[in-house]
């Protein structure tokens, strides 16, 4: 299928700890990218393809501040300009590889792969759950063999929990009630679901330490912040004046139409001084994530995204449908069509036109 992802958006390229002293090669939105860190700590992202014979620069080495191609030794500076060729005295004029705008907001390194000038009009979203203030977080990164919208749509409709994650489903919540509320703006969708009082699931009891002799109110909520980020939270009202919240932040970065980098972070706002709680939650959420990925990949392998998106809609899809509209509009304005021409599901990007709609 044709790429169905907006390019004019900040996406997560890597976690901060993935970009160390070495070279990290990664395909992002169909583009080969090499990421590395300068001595100053600044992260650089260049096209991962030597301007000479196309060898991946990520297989080369760093020499001071220069990236050296591992084939014929061409050297590139942090702006992507060729700074020297070993086999000839002069530097070929104007030879360069593309340098992509990068911003680091730990734990993520963000990249702009769209129209370069437009990067200044947008900022990577602030993700307060991950900045340490009142929250503790950990994470895991996987490459999912599926279109990025299948990942978003999976996390936008959590009525799959009892079927896909029966062990983590609180007893009594085998049927999740519909969403209470879906709230939309031009670029974001927020949904909430209030759950009837129910017993604690094992993982909830172990993490919170709450007594199991009573039922607890919960609320699940989430926000599609951009095509790159979906955040959701699972709140348990402890009845003791404390709200125990477990948040999952999913950074969704398309690699290609059928492969997606998923950088998931798990955060919680309680028992911050107890490392075991964090480890326990990490183990539970990592298991849940593996189960999620298996479902998403099975859909890609059979129906594909287009097949999946042409399925019937249920009440629980209210959030999904709003997100499809946002993405369809983004694709349409980027490629130079009027939004009203865009289909409601972002099935695929329309063929690029150089000028205007016809």
């Amino acid at each position: 299928m044709t790429p169905n992802y907006p390019r004019d958006c900040w996406y997560v390229a890597a976690t901060s700890d993935e970009v160390g002293s070495g070279l990290l090669g990664r395909t992002l939105l169909d583009r080969p990218v090499v990421l590395y860190r300068l001595a100053s700590g600044e992260v650089v992202a260049l096209e991962d393809r030597c301007a000479h014979r196309g060898y991946p620069l990520s297989r080369g080495r760093l020499d001071g501040g220069l990236l050296v191609c591992g084939y014929h030794g061409l050297r590139y500076d942090a702006a992507g300009a060729c700074a020297g060729v070993p086999s000839q005295p002069n530097v070929p004029y104007g030879v360069r590889v593309r340098a992509y705008p990068v911003r680091e907001q730990p734990p993520f390194v963000w990249i702009w792969l769209g129209q370069p000038g437009r990067s200044s009009l947008h900022s990577p979203p602030a993700l307060p759950w991950l900045s340490g203030d009142g929250w503790s977080s950990s994470g895991t990164t996987v490459c999912v063999a599926a279109n990025y919208m299948l990942v978003h749509e999976h996390y936008l409709d959590l009525t799959h929990i009892p079927e896909v994650h029966p062990e983590e489903t609180p007893p009594g919540l085998e049927q999740l009630p519909p969403l209470d509320h879906v709230s939309v703006s031009e670029m974001s969708v927020t949904y909430t679901r209030t759950l009837p009082p129910a017993d604690l699931a094992d993982w909830e009891a172990e993490a919170t330490g709450l007594p199991r002799d009573r039922e607890y109110k919960r609320r699940h909520h989430g926000t599609f912040i951009s095509p790159a980020i979906l955040a959701e939270g699972w709140q348990i009202d402890g009845g003791d004046g404390q709200l125990y919240e477990q948040a999952r932040i999913h950074a969704v970065t398309p690699e290609s139409p059928a492969r997606t980098h998923l950088f998931s972070r798990f955060a919680h706002n309680f028992a911050l001084d107890r490392a075991l709680v964090g480890q326990h939650l990490h183990a539970v959420m990592a298991k849940v994530m593996r189960e999620d990925v298996a479902v998403i990949e099975a859909i890609e392998a059979t129906a594909g995204y287009e097949g999946s998106a042409s399925g019937i809609h249920l009440t629980a899809d209210a959030g999904v449908l709003q997100v499809r509209r946002i993405v369809a509009r983004m694709l349409a304005t980027e490629t130079g069509r009027t939004p009203a021409e865009a289909d409601r599901a972002p099935r695929s990007a329309p063929a690029p036109k150089t000028a205007r709609p016809g």
């Binding site: 000038g117 200044s120 979203p125 602030a126 879906v182 009837p196 009027t338």
Partner: protein, 346 residues
Amino acid sequence: MNVSPTATFAGFVAAEKLADVVSTPKFEVEELETDLVVAGRDILAEGVVALSLVDPTGRPLPEWTPGAHVDLVPNASLVRQYSLCGSPADTGTWRIAVLRDPQSRGGSDFVHDKLHVGFSVRVRGPRNHFPLVSAPRYQFIAGGIGITPMLPMIEAAEAAGAAWQLAYGGRKRASMAFVGDLAAHGERVTIWPQDERGLLDLPGILGSARDDTLVYCCGPEPLLSAVEGACASWPAGALHVERFAAKPGADQPAPGARDSFEVICQRSGITVTVPAGRSVFEVLEDAGVSVLGSCLEGVCGTCEAAVIDGTPDHRDSVLSAEEQARNDAMMLCVSRSLSDRLVIDL
């Protein structure tokens, strides 16, 4: 409730509210509403005040793109739309500029007289029915306070390296906001005060139809109508206009309009009969179908629904003539039906 203070995304549910939830409320899809605080207030020109709106707890605001507008909702009966005129890169502040309208229905008077620094106001949105579609060249045409959406558009066109020109008309120079800021763009901007130069010379500004140019126009109705006339020979889709009041005559029924008709909501499985004198929107809302709505005058575009079958009688001021002719979308608040039955995706 003793919750650790967290500065989360403004659209994200405030943690402390869970304790207040007693029963599950009725499910609804609604536009984002937030209470924002006036952090800055400037008089930009005669009768024009600009407000900077921020989240009271400093949380970042949802993203928007050039052409977007928000509703100010001082109370349920006073809802007004204002274009965002700041930079989309500033995720902490939304900026609007409001002209005091002598014929005001209350909205601009409220902003001018009541919204002082430190005051709180409910804001809904943003939404965008005037998006800046990617193109190599733009002709912007603004009349009076219609300059507001053009400012972020100009910033975006500059950032994308597109060519652009702005023709900006107004009653007189002193009443025209942002004239000073726009001077930095030199010859790309033509300031056209009516008392000095008369009405905008549209044939001169637009020239002959061009394939590489999109025309964006916002301003009073006579200007919008004139630009629509002047662009008649331009390719379909070249002209984009933003209206904040219904287009004259838009509410007139088309020949063959049904007084009463049936609407089938495919997704919810609900069928209703819309009688004469009631809107599709009202009838659907009464039937418990979750519909979005804001201006209810066919102007803001919030209630747009996809049409699966049947032919709508379009009476809105949002969709262009070409968009209306496709009959694949309609505004539920004002549009009706030319067929006995409409099937919509709700």
